[in-house]
Symmetry: D2
Subunit: 339 residues, 4 copies
């Protein structure tokens, strides 16, 4: 930690800061420049972090520059090798690019079974589908709830595909965990701490979606809540950030993929459906995500997008999805991976 003093800071102010730091059991190096005095702080990280805010308010301090990352368990420094997350019969995080596909919402038995059959036939490894739906408007379709979970389980039995579905609230976790192979925590809930802690305490793998304006540190600290409860089976998902390109619903931040792969050992996947909000941009952005190094994709597929109760405009139909999978197979091979 580095403390930068104001240019007009007095000797007494510098002394007071040094005493405060030393009183906490940390060591200091003082460096007196022409324009400013800079104080380096050495010692226990937790102590430094606890002191940080109070040092920012100390008289004469211009700013405090942390040197270390604020997260620990999720960091590559803590676990240098790639984590592989196991979801039923499938894995996420190895050489194979995992494809999770399915409808936004489970709408009916016919719809989810038809979709499960179609995405399995095209080569997807996992099935997604929402039973509890967080919707911007209270007047939109809110999901089939437990009936939706039951239909997902039926689709799993029929196809063998493990299922990924969202819990919106800590109180829903127990019910969702009874059916799901992987719990999804949505972008709106990325910082819902009771939910993160509950997911951490569950035995299930978790897919954590980045909030639409979350920094990568915030995403990693949200994951840290889960790992801190003893659950290391976490997959991060980039799904678009708030931007100003009106032609897509969000701005897919693909550079987050190589950056996250460098900062953390957790697998990183990409959701081009929410990231673009328009089905016609899903295929090129799915290819771009794989080329950028993503460990997997989350793709919305609906047997009849024009009749979907939610997210129709960003859903692929089965034919488009099969075409996408074919092109991804060639692409994955070209970069030394499989799909």
């Amino acid at each position: 930690m580095i403390i930068v003093m104001e240019s007009g800071a007095s000797e007494g102010q510098v002394q007071a800061v040094v005493e405060k730091v030393q009183a906490a059991g940390l060591n200091t190096h003082i460096s007196v420049g022409v324009a400013r005095t800079v104080i380096g702080v050495v010692g226990d990280d937790r102590t430094k972090e606890m002191l940080r805010e109070s040092l920012e308010v100390a008289p004469g301090v211009e700013r405090v520059v942390p040197i270390l990352q604020p997260f620990k368990l999720v960091s590559r420094e803590f676990i240098p090798h790639d984590t592989v997350v196991t979801v039923g019969s499938q894995t996420i995080g190895g050489a194979k690019v995992a494809v999770i596909a399915g409808p936004c919402s489970v709408e009916s038995r016919e719809q989810i079974l038809a979709t499960a059959d179609a995405v399995k036939a095209a080569g997807a490894g996992l099935l997604r589908g929402g039973a509890f739906k967080p919707r911007t408007s209270p007047y939109s379709f809110q999901g089939l709830e437990e009936e939706g979970l039951r239909l997902l389980a039926e689709a799993r039995e029929r196809t063998g595909l493990p299922i990924v579905t969202e819990a919106m609230d800590a109180a829903q976790l127990e019910l969702v965990a009874r059916y799901a192979d992987m719990i999804q925590i949505g972008a709106r809930n990325m910082q819902n701490y009771p939910l993160l802690r509950g997911a951490g305490r569950s035995r299930l793998p978790v897919m954590l979606k980045r909030g639409v304006s979350a920094t990568l540190e915030e995403l990693l600290l949200a994951a840290e809540y889960i790992l801190n409860e003893g659950n290391y089976q976490v997959v991060l998902c980039e799904r678009g950030i708030r931007g100003f390109n009106a032609h897509t619903r969000y701005t897919l931040d693909l550079s987050a993929v190589p950056v996250l792969k460098r900062l953390t050992h957790l697998p990183v996947i990409v959701d081009p459906s929410h990231g673009t909000g328009k089905w016609r941009y899903v295929a090129p952005m799915a290819r771009a995500a794989v080329a950028a190094g993503a460990d997997g994709l989350l793709v919305e597929v609906h047997p009849n997008p024009a009749a979907a109760l939610s997210d129709g405009p960003q859903s692929l139909n089965p034919d488009n999805f099969a075409d996408l999978m074919a092109s991804l197979r060639l692409l994955a091979q070209a970069i030394g991976r499989a799909i």
Copy 2:
């Protein structure tokens, strides 16, 4: 609702769209321009909204332009006069500018009582303080929980100030409601729908903070969830959006104040403490918020910011807060309000 066809759309595609709209019981006006055909849709709003996404996916459709706002109960069109929210002995939304002040977290009996005394003496009308704290890092102080609520209640008895405190989760609502005069829903939880619905079902007034990248429509639709449960006692709070000015923690979007006042009948307040993240910018931005037409302020005050367990850098000490209140009194008078 207006449907804009692609420039190369065929007559058959136009016809198919018209039939789809009419089959839902809506009327159409077709307008054939040089470059494009545009279809106007007239009829029941709910039906239009339900058709919207499926029309976006129909062959030949370029885009669908909604004409109406997606929210209803919160809109000025639904209730033209200003809503006044009553919180214990105080009101928010009338000619008087409400000031809610107090520490970020309740830390101890001494701390909360000293702060309550100080903000009351300086003229604040309500006391804020967090007992359950949503913190970016799992390693930060997480709040005193029920003990914090009890201390807030003691501060209320001593000073008469109604108390405002946060619930992070629907499951916490019952406990929080036992002590609080107003429930705060934080920025990270703006789209936590079980929490919004639960707050709607409670009898208490609710302060809903804007998410850091929420559009104003999203904020108003989140409030709509609360009103839709029958609770119209809702105050909206602007607290800064994600921006790229590194000198402040967020970018305080003060133009949201006059825009929201035009769109909704609900009171609008501003939190310059979180909005700037730096105590030295709190006073000018508090003044700016009142000048922009805010119905109230939410200000963090701590007896000793350098010792605060959270948000010290953005907290005013009691002297700075008293100075701010003095300047706000003159300012409020100059624009025809009181404080």
Copy 3:
């Protein structure tokens, strides 16, 4: 164009708007809904565009929704087939992915010749290098000016690579055009209209970089200035937008690629060097750009990045660049293109 009236607009206000529109020679369709009256306007586009702002201010008008895109010559509707831009011996916009590589700044004869040799050997088709450098700080290296242009020309003679270099100002165009095969207009100058017009009047192909907060409409309208002067040889370049991911200098908006390819006939290339600002993310984002459908890449290469006078941290060294080219060859093939 659609005019949406306020919910309380009077019949007289509607009538006044209709008269204003008809007085300009345009036709109207009135549609009276439950909540609002909507007026459709049909007729000459230029007339509509000129009326638009004054209609927005007319009493009783809520908003005016334009239906047509504001650009013309650059649009796919105007020219449906892909434009191929010819730069010396090379083309940009066909099946082959064009790679433009070289240093940020021309620094010396040795540096530019060594770089030209290296990028040619690795398979680049064009050479970039700045002689006039727009630098954020007046204290940074500002370029070798005409001497830099002369060195670029020498590198072209030696390698046969056409050269791409920036003009910062309309007054520099004549000089730059004497040496360059393609004029670059930088992100900071995307809306420098005298420069756009001057580049339009020159005979040379132009590479126009997107401003860091430009919408795609603004980028296309900037290109429209160039085409409007009779020069249709324009290539658009995505190079990152302002975001909040602190790990990269900008946020590379790759979804701009498929969106632009749909809106315009002009070729679209990507600059992953400026887009990320960090050499270690250049290769994955270059691959992602090609997978997203980019027609080319602009990559900074320096023989010794640690000694570069500008942009060292984002420059590849010759070995990294050769590795990137090898991986791009496989990738391009997998998506049916060549490099």
Copy 4:
């Protein structure tokens, strides 16, 4: 300057960095922490800045943290007292809040003289009006050019108001300087370095508008270009940044006002007309700007906004402007200033 080494950096890498720094004549302090080694660098600032990028690329370096601000002449540390800029008979930067008002574009003799009379009567101190107009579309009105400048000069003679008008290009400076009392550099040209240098060499005061996605450092470095040519008569203008609130054209970043006032001695004014893009939000945001501490306002006024050739929707008519001035007088007094 602080150099943070990667957690796995070898001793040899640390040594190589230290040698590189010392070879440039700078001193180092090494601090070996548990997780990382940190190297403090002390010595001449210019040398440090020149080394920075090459250190970022050195093997084993994680990142380089600059301690000093990158600007000098514009900083409060260089000139601690407030600069007062003199424009004809008026000043900007003292206790009085300067109001610059007038139309977006000069359109005709009647229009500019009527506006000048109206804003003078309402109490404005300076007259604005564009003769050269940077327009997003090549099909929009581009200004009356020299004829516009002549009309502005006539308005000055008639009213005594000094005139502020834009130059879009270094080549226009000589002509504009022949008529103007203050040169405006627009947001799109904030980083047009030939223009900044030319304005620096002129004798005239300069109003520099912040680019819509410029950081405050970038704005201050752009001003530094002007001061570096010997012209210290510079006023900074906040006019809105790119945001995602669709109800206003830009997001007015008022916290920039107190932050800039702390970082620089230059006066800071605010343009609520461009900042909001809607006349109905101009008055509340003008009041908020003054309450936040702005030294002045730039307000668009047009005798008949519905007939304006540019920016009608954001222009006040003379009555609204007179009302605004009346409210600002009371407000300025309440915060100890005058208008």
